[in-house]
Structures are given as structure tokens and as C-alpha cells.
Amino acid sequence: MPELSVKNLLVFRGERHLFRGLALAVPAQRCLQITGVNGAGKTTLLRVLAGLLEPEHLELRWRERAISPRDAGYHGELAYLGHDAALKADLTGLENIRFAVGLRSTLGPAALAAAIARVGAQKFADRLVRTLSAGQKRRIALASLLLSGSSLWLLDEPATNLDAAGQALIGELIGEQLARGGTVIAATHQDLGLAATARIALELGSGT
């Protein structure tokens, strides 16, 4: 009984079909790790699943229900972290997190503090984002992700800009999300350090 399943995905990019009949299924408490050469279509796949890019054809099922990738209920349970972390340079890290999470659900101060500590952002969370380093920004975005309370995480190269400890952190956060009963789809070449049973590998074909 997969949590999320995709059938007959058809995506056209530029002058050719990037996906032609791709199918995949992710059970709950599993992490689907997508790899593939540059241009293989990892980002495209994640954006299609998030409903940000319209495919030519897609049969999507979420918890046994056939849905559109633009379903509001599905969106309510999904979090997408892409290349652009949706941070406003003129707000502090805290303000950014409060806004991003607040759009979805009410946020208690204790949960906020816990998430900030978890991503190691205590020292800089109250500074304007414009003054943060690339990796510090990324950690703020991770705190928003944690607090979104979403059961499905779609992560596009989550470890970008992070230091060695940060890269390990990504693996841990994914592990915790799985333990909570959530599902993760991540495009990354990094070893996430997950148990073999928790991980499903998907290697996309060569790009153009």
C-alpha cells in the first residue's frame, strides 16, 4: 500500500520527452532517493510531484486516492524545498520561519525554539537573512521544513551549501521524518546514512 504512487508520467521539455511513462511508488516511512546525471530530470520530477510544473500526463495516487497534483488537501500535507529557499532578505530568519510556517499552521514558541536548535541556527536566527552566509540561510529553510508538519517532504539537493555537520544533519532529519511516519523524496547524490530498508533508490537516465 504505497503512500504515493505515480503512473504513466509524461513530461515534455524543450524538444523531447524527458519522461515517457515513468512509474514509481513510495510506501510510508520510506525515503525515495533520486540520483542521475546533471539534466536527468530530478528537479523536474520533484516539481511535477509538487504540482508546480504541469506534466502532459500523470496518474497520481496519494493514500489510495487518485488526486491532481494541485489538490489543496495534498498540498496541505506536502513540503517542497527547492533551489530557492523562499527567504526574504529583509526579514530575520525567525520572521521568515514564522511566516512560512504560519501560512500552513499555528506555531507554538516551544516548537519554534526546538526546531531552530535542531538545525543549529540559534546563533543567527534573529539576524536579517541578507547578512547570513549561504549555509546559514539553508539552515533557516530547514527549520521551516521541520515545522511545516508535512508528512511528505520533497527535497531538491537539500545538502547544498551545508558544511560537513550539516550534511550529516540532513540524513538525520530525514531519518526522524521517517520515524514520525512521514515520507521523503529527495534528489541528492549524498549518502543519507539511512537503513537499507528505509531507502528506495531511483536512478534517472542520461540527460541531454
Binding site: 510510508a28 509538487a50 504540482g51 508546480l52 510544473l53 489543496a72 488537501g73 498540498h75 496541505g76 500535507e77 506536502l78 517542497y80 527547492g82 533551489h83 530557492d84 529557499a85 523562499a86 527567504l87 526574504k88 532578505a89 529583509d90 526579514l91 520572521e95 511566516f99 512560512a100 504560519g102 501560512l103 500552513r104 499552521s105 499555528t106 507554538g108 516548537a111 508538519g149 508535512s150 508528512s151 521524518q177 514520525r180 511516519g181 512521514g182
Partner: protein, 236 residues
């Protein structure tokens, strides 16, 4: 199995509350960058004051062109600020999050439009009497000018939001944006200038004011829907 989706402490934000959060954030961002607040005002002032400089210093003659000057100035100033309505949010990925946060996009877009009006249309309206005086407009006309500009600028912001949404996917869309929105804004300009003219002449301006109100209501019901549709299309 739903624990991650709905942990006990998690209370979903309502659609209205989400829209309010967007409004609040946009206002806060504007306050952090006061120079952006002043830019439309400065532009409005320069346009209005150019006419006495280039045309004639005689207040009698200026009074005749005051309605046109005030309305064209307000329209152009409001449009200048429109370009950035969605652009930044699109560039840093915020619009993507709007699309997938599970809240109705119409509400979020309407909130952004309201913020734009509060930050541009409202200050322009409040500034207009000052410029009016410089153009020889009698003080008795000010309530009429204020009310017509307040109503008209709402519609301008609404039309502008549709245009800004449509030009999202267009590189350097600033000029195209004005090309799209100005024709749509013609009725507002016509009725608005007419109302101002009547106000200066000391006559009753209920007629054009009703029409402006009708346009504002029509805009408020339709424009957010169109703008939301446009934004959805524009985010690739």
C-alpha cells in the same frame, strides 16, 4: 501513520488568517525599505509640478488641467510600483510556496494587492490635496478629490495585479506590464478625471463617483481571480 501530517499540536491556519499573514509581511517588508515607499510619491510630485514649470504659472489655467495631471500622475506612479508586486516573490521562490501551501491562492494574491494599495494608492491619495493646492485647486474640492482618488486607486491596484501576474514569466516585463494595464485603466481615468473636474467646479460628483465605486466593486470581485490564475500560470 498520520502523525507527521497532523501531530496533535498542529492547528491549520484558516484562509483568512493566511491572507492576513501575507498582508502583514508585505507591510513589514515595506517599512524595512522606506525608500520604496517614497518613490511613487516623489514621482507623483515631479509629474504634477512639471506642468506648472513647463506650461504656465497662472493658477487659473493650471486649475483647468489639474484633474488630468493628478490622475495621470497617480496612475503612472501606481504603475511604477506594480512591477515589483510579484517579481521578488517569484525570484526567491515565495510564490511557489504560496501555490503549494494548501491555502487558496486568490486570498494570498488579494492580500498582496491590498498591501500594494496601502503602500501606493493610499499615500498617493493623501498626497493629492497637497499637489492640488499647488495647481490652484480650491480647498472645497479636496473631499471630492480624496474620495474619487481613493476609489479609483483601488481599481488601479486591482487591474495592476492582473497585469503583474500575467507578466511574471516575461523577462524585463516592466514596459509590457504598462502596455497591458494602461488600456484596461482607461475607464478609471475617464471617470476619475471627470469627478475631479466636477469637484473643482463645485458641482455634485455623485455620478462619476458611483461609476468609480462600481468599477472598484467589479474589480474587487473579478481581478483577484484573474490575478491568481495569472500567477498560477506564471510560476513555472
Amino acid at each position: 501513520m498520520n502523525s507527521a501530517a497532523n501531530p496533535p499540536h498542529l492547528v491549520r491556519t484558516g484562509a483568512l488568517a493566511a491572507a492576513l499573514k501575507v498582508l502583514q509581511r508585505d507591510l513589514r517588508l515595506a517599512v524595512r525599505r522606506p525608500s520604496q515607499l517614497l518613490q511613487p510619491l516623489a514621482f507623483f510630485a515631479v509629474v504634477s509640478l512639471l506642468f506648472p514649470l513647463g506650461y504656465t504659472p497662472e493658477l487659473d489655467k493650471l486649475r483647468a488641467i489639474a484633474p488630468g495631471v493628478l490622475w495621470v500622475g497617480a496612475l503612472l506612479a501606481s504603475m511604477l510600483a506594480l512591477d515589483s508586486l510579484f517579481r521578488e516573490d517569484a525570484a526567491d521562490g515565495t510564490l511557489e510556496q504560496f501555490l503549494i501551501c494548501g491555502q487558496p491562492l486568490v486570498g494570498l494574491v488579494a492580500a498582496k494587492t491590498l498591501a500594494h494599495w496601502l503602500l501606493t494608492g493610499l499615500p498617493l491619495t493623501l498626497m493629492a490635496p497637497l499637489l492640488g493646492i499647488a495647481l490652484g485647486v480650491p480647498v472645497a474640492a479636496m473631499p471630492g478629490i480624496l474620495s474619487s482618488l481613493a476609489l479609483g486607486s483601488v481599481t488601479l491596484s486591482l487591474i495592476g495585479a492582473v497585469g503583474a501576474g500575467l507578466t511574471l514569466g516575461v523577462r524585463r516585463g516592466g514596459v509590457l506590464l504598462s502596455l497591458l494595464t494602461l488600456p484596461l485603466a482607461v475607464p478609471v481615468l475617464v471617470f476619475g478625471a471627470r469627478a475631479t473636474e466636477l469637484a473643482i467646479a463645485g458641482e455634485s460628483l455623485t455620478g462619476p463617483l458611483y461609476l468609480l465605486a462600481a468599477l472598484a466593486v467589479l474589480g474587487a470581485t473579478l481581478a483577484p481571480l484573474a490575478a491568481a490564475a495569472a500567477v498560477r500560470i506564471g510560476v513555472e
